[in-house]
């Protein structure tokens, strides 16, 4: 495709071998100190310290490289990762700038070299931030207390499932309440964590308005209901206006209501979960609050709840006594732990810093700009041949993202949304989000511009999509065989679910390859 308005781009190609294939015997990447003579003499020999039956017999097959070779190898791998160096409008993940200041400050020993079991006297700075940030999230949500122990959004959903269990156990109703209600448009983790905590899952389908009806909820809510777990808006950008009625129904039945606030960015400062009636909610600090995503964590699913549920929260909690902060390590009704210690604290500090940098006005502006950018995109996207919108008959503006479909294009050209994704990376545009399972519209894609990306970036993103869709009609083979300008060509994962072929380690790969050639 030669489109003079698009910039030239090509990913770095290094043909980088696996680290296990490089290096030479005897080379060293890191030396450790030699034990001091007195230490060695006092400690005794290795044979005396570890019985033979507990000793390693064969050296591990790790590479032998210099420090520079290791550094260069992983720098090459970073260069062979597009990693948001272009434009990423990955919907549901709210791609943000991760301020470098936060990286620099959290990397210093005053946070990086803290041990979680230190005496609270020595942790006053970090306790202050944890406490202050909990209060800030309480202000944004109306909840009474936040914990940061859950290691991601799914872990916060699991925390809810465990608290649901403990709450009904405490009230003597757990044996009766064995169902969690969710919707097909709620993130899969809500259903999955409920099941993993021991509940049956009831999933409501969508109806004509883009969300399940009140009647549908009425039909399933009962004395067996333990909790409702929903997001709102969903990741099509559709808001369920009956949510207050939903919460009344759920509460009348004696169940809890959890707000998966994955899509908080567009409604920040307009909605407070507690005011709507939710008992608990979850914010993803690595999404909405500017902490980095790390390609999948370390993350934080900040879990907040009403006063009534505080006794059940996992511990530790941080409390303030005047100018001092103290740690509450345990509580009789607490669910205990969902993960060791008290969370990914560098991420908490980064999110705190991000929120301090914005302040209340900045938070509101970020929400406004997110929704504005999304609605700006809609006009241009729908002008592209083959692009349609989910629930097109709903005319009200969507919130911070909108689910689109390339189904028409696929019918007309045979090119799929995955092909388009593979072709867009040829222009330095990171993958877009498709949709969680199951797909509600064919060939879905879900961009989210958020407040980070400039109008120029957004326009460029749309230009690339338009060019790729045009190419799908004119030269579908080029799109189907994409990418052409990437670190590697199109990956053939067809054997990845075959036990004879899958290989999650080099050991397995070598063994299977040997077996296949015999």
């Amino acid at each position: 495709m030669s489109n003079p308005s698009l910039r030239r781009y090509h990913a770095a190609v290094w043909d980088e071998p696996l680290v296990l294939e490089i290096g030479r015997e005897g080379r060293r990447g890191m030396l450790v100190p030699e034990p001091e003579a007195e230490v060695r003499a006092t400690a005794g020999t290795l044979d005396a310290l570890v019985p033979h039956t507990a000793r390693r017999q064969k050296a591990p097959g790790l590479p032998e490289l210099t420090e520079f070779e290791v550094q260069r190898h992983y720098l090459h791998l970073s260069q062979e990762t597009l990693g948001m160096m272009g434009i990423s409008l990955f919907g549901t993940c709210t791609m943000k700038y991760n301020p470098r200041l936060n990286e620099l400050l959290t990397a210093r020993p005053w946070l990086a070299e803290l041990h979680p079991s230190q005496d609270e006297d020595t942790l006053q700075g970090v306790l202050q931030i944890v406490h202050a940030f909990s209060e800030m999230l309480c202000e944004l949500s109306g909840m009474s207390q936040f914990v940061f122990q859950p290691g991601g959004g799914a872990d916060a959903a699991y925390t809810q499932a465990c608290i649901t269990r403990a709450y009904h156990q405490h009230r003597g109703e757990l044996s009766q309440r064995d169902e969690v209600i969710t919707t097909i448009q709620a993130h899969p983790c809500n259903a999955a964590t409920s099941a993993a905590a021991g509940f049956k899952v009831v999933t409501l389908p969508l109806e004509d308005d883009g969300y399940p009806s009140v009647a549908a909820l009425e039909a399933v809510v009962s004395e067996r209901t333990a909790a409702l777990m929903v997001n709102n808006p969903d990741d099509m950008g559709i808001y369920n206006p009956n949510i207050k009625r939903w919460l009344e129904l759920v509460h009348d039945a004696g169940a809890l209501a959890f707000y998966d606030h994955a899509n908080f960015n567009g409604v920040m400062s307009r909605l407070r979960a507690r005011e709507l009636g939710f008992d608990a909610c979850m914010f993803m600090l690595h999404k909405t609050f500017g902490a980095p995503k790390g390609g999948g964590g370390p993350a934080v699913g900040a879990y907040g709840c009403s006063e009534e549920l505080v006794p059940f929260l996992p511990r530790p909690l941080v409390h303030r006594d005047g100018e001092r902060y103290r740690i509450e390590h345990d509580a009789p009704l607490s669910i205990g732990r969902v993960r060791e210690f008290w969370g990914n604290l560098p991420q908490v500090v980064k999110a705190y810093s991000y929120t301090r940098a914005l302040g209340a006005e900045g938070i509101r502006q970020a929400a406004d700009l997110s929704v504005l950018a999304n609605n700006y995109m809609e006009g241009r996207l729908l002008a592209i041949r083959g692009v349609t919108k989910s629930f097109p008959e709903l005319t009200a503006p969507r919130l911070e993202m909108t689910r689109y479909s390339l189904g028409e294009m696929t019918e007309e050209t045979g090119v799929t949304v995955l092909d388009v994704q593979n072709r867009m990376v040829d222009f330095g545009i990171d993958a877009f989000w498709l949709s969680h399972e199951p797909w509600i519209v064919p060939e879905p894609f879900t961009p989210e511009a958020g407040e980070l990306w400039s109008k120029e970036d957004i326009d460029y993103w749309i230009d690339v999509l338009a060019a790729v869709v045009a190419e799908a009609y004119e030269d579908p083979e080029t799109v189907r065989t994409a990418p052409h300008n990437q670190a590697i060509h199109k990956v053939d994962g067809s054997g990845a679910n075959d036990p004879e072929q899958w290989a999650t380690t080099w050991r397995a790969y070598q063994r299977k390859r040997r077996a296949a050639t015999v």
């Binding site: 696996l18 230190q118 020595t122 700075g125």
Partner: protein
């Protein structure tokens, strides 16, 4: 003050906001929230502390606040118990902060190629250390890994009882309890504790033999154990489990595997453990991560809750790529019908772990393991020379129990005394293991040289005098 655009928000420049509004034909963004009923909108404006929009002011505030901490470089720390102070190579820190790894989420298999390869190298190198062929991408922590592994064992065997040591780490145990569901739940897995030998702290194999039965889904044992002791005969524990059709799940610290036997060597079915020791800072507990590994057999592979990458071909002859494998059995693929659940985890640390393992190499792991053994044993020898103080059990790696019962002082009194001397003493065990009375778990790694250890013994002697 005049309005200023925010450095994190490109369209906060006033003319940009106007341009966007004009393009969609609204006077103000407020009009775009028509989906939300008016009575849902909060009536109380959000109040937050004043914005610190300049990097300078923000930096000053954070520096003043974080400077209130006293860290383990400023002090001399002997704290361990699930989070350990190890040396983090500078290259690990550099790679951890590469923007391409740090900021993004998912890309395509081709545009994420470098990261996928780094993940594969995490699994592959860990597989070499463990002598196991199937390794998932990491989970949140060791406790979470153990919890998932026990649930895997429960699904595989259809049994609902697990045997564990009576001397478990309290944090990890609390997580495992959560994962095993409380009594009364349909999926409840009962945790039955097995006695340890009072002379060694290791599992009492006779007690294990009498506890194990056809109801046992798994025997979960750790080596080194939560209190540092090395199981001298892991193959016998595995054999006992196997004889009863139970899965042998081993918890191991990968930093020990240059000298201690890897789970594959003694035939463990599933291995779990921490990833923080492999090049990740303690981060006040925010550095923890966990792994799950096993033999590459369908019986195990089909039970993983994690995501994992597999080496694959590409459309170009001879080129290698990576693809997710067994995605359909994850919660992303199958919602509540998937195995447990998955989500964001600690994947950035997996990249760092890969860097660490390639820096150390086979000789580095064996030298490091030996150094930790030497220095921790030296520390134990010196500490046990202090009158009234004893080291409870020999045969440990990195951590050991110091018994202060004869000193007449509590661990918290002793640690308060050490703190005034710039030392964080080992963590007290009286809450988690009351049978040990006033005992503490001391952790000695490669970062502690002889001088540090001698300083500790001098300070302890003074505090106990």
């Amino acid at each position: 003050m005049t309005y200023r655009a925010h450095p994190y928000m490109a369209n906060s420049a006033p003319q940009l906001q106007e341009e966007l509004c004009t393009a969609i034909g609204v006077a103000s963004p407020d009009e775009l929230f028509a989906q939300i009923p008016a009575d849902h909108i909060t009536q109380t404006p959000i109040k937050l502390p004043p914005a610190l929009a300049s990097e300078l002011e923000l930096s000053r505030h954070l520096r003043i606040t974080l400077a209130r901490n006293v860290d383990c470089e400023a002090s001399l720390s002997f704290l361990g118990g699930g989070c350990w102070q190890h040396h983090v190579p500078a290259v690990c820190d550099e790679i951890a902060t590469r923007t391409e790894f740090l900021t993004p989420v998912w890309g395509t298999p081709s545009s994420d190629h470098g990261r996928n390869q780094a993940w594969f190298e995490f699994s592959s190198q860990l597989g070499e250390l463990l002598e196991l062929d199937f390794v998932g991408l990491p989970v949140y922590s060791w406790g979470c890994a153990a919890g998932h592994a026990l649930r895997m064992a429960g699904r595989m065997t259809g049994r609902r009882e697990v045997l564990i040591s009576e001397l478990m780490d309290p944090e990890r145990l609390a997580v495992i309890r959560t994962y095993c569901e409380p009594p009364g739940m349909q999926g409840h897995i009962e945790l039955r504790t097995v006695a340890t030998d009072p002379a060694t702290g290791t599992l009492d194999l006779d007690a294990l033999a009498s506890a194990i039965s056809e109801r046992t889904a798994a025997v979960y044992f750790e080596t080194p154990g939560a209190l540092g002791v090395i199981e001298p005969n892991p193959e016998r524990i595995v054999a006992l489990a196997r004889a009863h059709g139970a899965e042998a799940v081993a918890g191991v610290d990968p930093i020990s595997l240059g000298v201690l036997a890897p789970p594959g060597q003694y035939g463990a079915d599933i291995a779990v453990g921490p990833t923080q020791p492999l090049g990740v800072h303690m981060n006040c507990g925010g550095g923890v991560g966990g792994f799950i590994a096993s033999r590459d057999e369908e019986r195990y592979a089909r039970q993983y809750p994690t995501l994992q990458v597999s080496l694959c071909p590409t459309s170009e002859e001879g080129e290698r790529g990576f693809s997710l494998t067994l995605f359909e059995q994850s919660s992303y693929g199958s919602r509540e019908l998937g195995n447990d659940w998955t989500g964001n985890s600690v994947y950035l640390w997996a990249v760092v772990n890969a860097v660490y393992m390639s820096l150390l190499g086979p000789t580095g792991f064996s030298e490091l393991g030996e150094l930790i053994l030497m220095r921790s044993n030296y520390a134990a020898a010196r500490i046990s020379e202090i009158p009234g103080v004893a080291v409870s059990w020999p045969g440990f790696f990195k951590e050991f129990v110091v018994d202060f019962n004869e000193t007449g002082k509590t661990v918290s009194e002793i640690n308060a005394g050490l703190r005034t001397r710039g030392i964080f003493g080992g963590g007290g065990l009286s809450d988690s293991h009351p049978q040990l009375g006033q005992s503490a778990l001391y952790c000695v790694t490669e970062v502690h040289n002889q001088e540090d250890i001698d300083r500790l013994t001098t300070a302890l002697t003074e505090v106990l005098a």
